[in-house]
Amino acid sequence: MALIDVERAILSICFQAEPPEAALRALGERERWLLYRELTRDRLIREIQTALPRSCTALGDECLQRAFRQHLDRDPPRTRFFRDVVMAFAASALRTFEGDETLPSHARDLLRYEAALWEVSDLEAVPNEPVEEFSFDRAPVVTPALRLLHVTHAVHLPPDSEASCSPGDFWLCLQLDPEDARSRTWSLNRTSYSLLAEFQRAQCSAADGVQRVAKQLGRRVTQQFVDHLCESLAQWIEVGILLGSR
C-alpha cells in the first residue's frame, strides 16, 4: 500500500460511521486499529462534552452520539486548532438536527449559545486598526471579541432559574470580558441588538448607522430614543463593547 492509502485507511477506521472491513484487513492487527478508533473518538467527544455540557444533556446520549457519528463520517474536523473542533461539531450537529422535531425545542438554541460562548472565550480582543475616541461622525469600532445571537428560548438564563430555556425572543450579546478574559452575556432589546449589529459591520458613521436602524425598525428618533441611545453607548464604552471610532 502506498503511504497515502495507508493514511486514508486509518482515517476511515477512525472516522467512518462503521470501520470498513477492507481497511481493517489491509492494515492487520484489527483490535489495535479499533483501539485507535476508540482513542481518537474519545478525545474529540470529551472536548465537546466539556465545552457544551448543557447542550449534551439536552440532546441526550443517543442524539449526541448520532450527531457525533455523522459529523466525523460526513463532515469531519478540518481545523488544526483543537478548541475549534467544538464549533465544527456544533455547526454539523445543527445541520443534522435541522427540522428534527423529536428534539427538545430549546436544544438547537442551547447548542448555538454554548458554541458561541466557547468561541468568544478565545477571540482576540484587540482590534487590528487604530482606534480613536468615539464620534458620531465616524465609523464605530466594536471589540472583535463579541458575537451577537438571536435565540427563541431563554438559554442564557442559568439552568436553576425557573425561566431558563422558556420560549421568547432574546437578543444576546456575548462578549469576552476584558478584565477576566472569560465570556459574558448581555441581554439586549431588539433596537440595541440591531444597532450593535450595524456598528459591528461599521460600513458607515455611527450617526448614519443609528438612522438606518431606526428606519429598518420603524422607530422615530425622538428625544427619548436619543436618551436611551446615549445611555446604551455610554454603557457599551464602559464595559469595552464599543471601543471608539476609526
Binding site: 492494515l27 492487520g28 486499529w33 478540518r78
Partner: protein, 288 residues
C-alpha cells in the same frame, strides 16, 4: 536552500526539569515555590489565533521561565505539506517567544485536509521516511528555527514493517538534519508492546542530536498493552530508563508531560523534585 539551522545559542541554556503549561495547572504553577522547575513547554496550536486567557497565561509564564514549544498537528508523515499561512504564523510565534527549536512528531495527524487530532503511526518503510525527511526540511526552511523530531508511541503497525523503529528514526534524523526530542516513555511503551530492548534503542541514539527529553506516565490494560496516556505518574522503570538516557546525552531539558487526570499540585511538584534529583545525579550537575 539550506536545511541546517543552528540552535539559538542564547537559549541552549535551557536545562533541568520543566512542565507543560496547561490551563488546568497554571494557577497552582504560578503560585508554587518550586525552584526545581526550570522551564515550561507550550503547544503553539493553543496560542495561535487566540486571545483571551491563553494569551495572558503565556505572557505571565514568559516572565518566569524560558518557554519551549512542541507542536501537535504537523506530523512529519503527512503526505500533504502544511498550509503556508499556518507555518508562517507558527514561525512568527516561535520567533516572538525566542524558541530555541520547535518539535513535532514522527507520525501523521491529518490526511486529505481532515485533522484527526491524534498521533497516528507511520509504516516503517522507505516511502514514509522519504516523506518525513521532505516535510522536516520544508518546515526547517520555513520556520527559521531548528526542528526537532519526537519518536511516538504506537499500538499497531500498518501492514508489514521493512525496518525497525530505531532504524527508521535514525534514517530520518540523518537525512533531514533534524534534532531529536527523545521521548523516553514512548521508547519504554513501544519496547514493551513490540518486544525490543529499550536500552539498546537508547544506546543507538546519536547523543549530539538530542535537544530535549520527554517523560510521562502510562497505563497498563488488562491484556498487558501499555498506553501512553500522559495521565498517570511516571513509573520506576521509566525513571531508570531516563537516568540511562541522561547519562548519555547530558544537560538537555527534561519535560514531565501531564495532560490529563491531574493530581493535586503537591504530587506533581514531588514528581518534579524526583526528576530533578535524577537529573542532577545523572548529569553530575550541581547548578540551581
Amino acid at each position: 536552500m539550506s536545511h541546517s539551522v543552528t540552535v539559538n545559542a542564547q537559549n541552549t541554556a535551557v536545562r533541568g526539569v520543566g512542565l507543560g503549561l496547561r490551563q488546568g495547572l497554571a494557577e497552582a504553577l504560578f503560585a508554587a515555590d518550586l525552584p526545581e522547575l526550570k522551564f515550561v513547554e507550550v503547544h503553539p496550536e493553543n496560542y495561535l489565533r487566540r486571545g483571551g486567557r491563553f494569551r495572558t497565561l503565556l505572557e505571565r509564564a514568559r516572565e518566569r521561565w524560558p518557554v519551549l514549544t512542541h507542536g501537535l498537528t504537523l506530523g512529519f508523515g503527512a503526505v500533504e505539506p502544511a498550509e503556508p499561512g499556518y507555518v508562517k504564523q507558527l514561525g512568527e510565534f516561535l520567533r516572538g517567544i525566542e524558541a530555541p527549536w520547535h518539535s513535532e512528531h514522527l507520525c501523521f495527524s491529518s490526511v486529505d485536509g481532515v485533522m484527526l487530532h491524534d498521533l497516528l503511526p507511520l509504516p516503517l518503510r522507505q516511502e514514509a521516511a522519504d516523506v518525513a525527511v521532505q516535510r522536516i526540511r520544508e518546515l526547517q526552511d520555513q520556520l527559521g528555527v531548528p526542528v526537532a523530531v519526537e519518536n511516538v508511541s504506537y499500538y499497531a503497525h500498518p501492514g508489514e514493517a521493512h525496518c525497525t523503529e530505531i532504524d527508521f528514526l535514525l534514517d530520518v534524523l540523518a537525512r533531514s538534519g533534524a534534532k531529536l526530542l527523545l521521548d523516553v516513555n514512548n521508547v519504554f511503551v513501544n519496547a514493551r508492546n513490540h518486544g525490543f530492548d529499550a536500552y539498546a534503542y537508547l544506546d543507538r541514539i546519536p547523543v549530539e542530536s538530542v535537544v530535549q527529553i520527554h517523560v510521562a506516565g502510562h497505563s497498563v490494560r488488562d491484556d498487558g498493552l501499555l498506553l501512553d496516556t500522559h495521565g498517570n505518574a511516571v513509573r520506576d522503570e521509566v525513571y531508570q530508563l531516563l537516568e540511562h538516557a541522561l547519562r548519555r546525552v547530558g544537560h538537555v531539558p527534561v519535560l514531565l508531560e501531564r495532560d490529563q487526570n491531574f493530581p493535586n499540585f503537591a504530587e506533581l511538584a514531588d514528581e518534579v523534585r524526583k526528576l530533578h534529583a535524577i537529573y542532577e545525579r545523572a548529569t553530575g550537575a550541581t547548578w540551581r
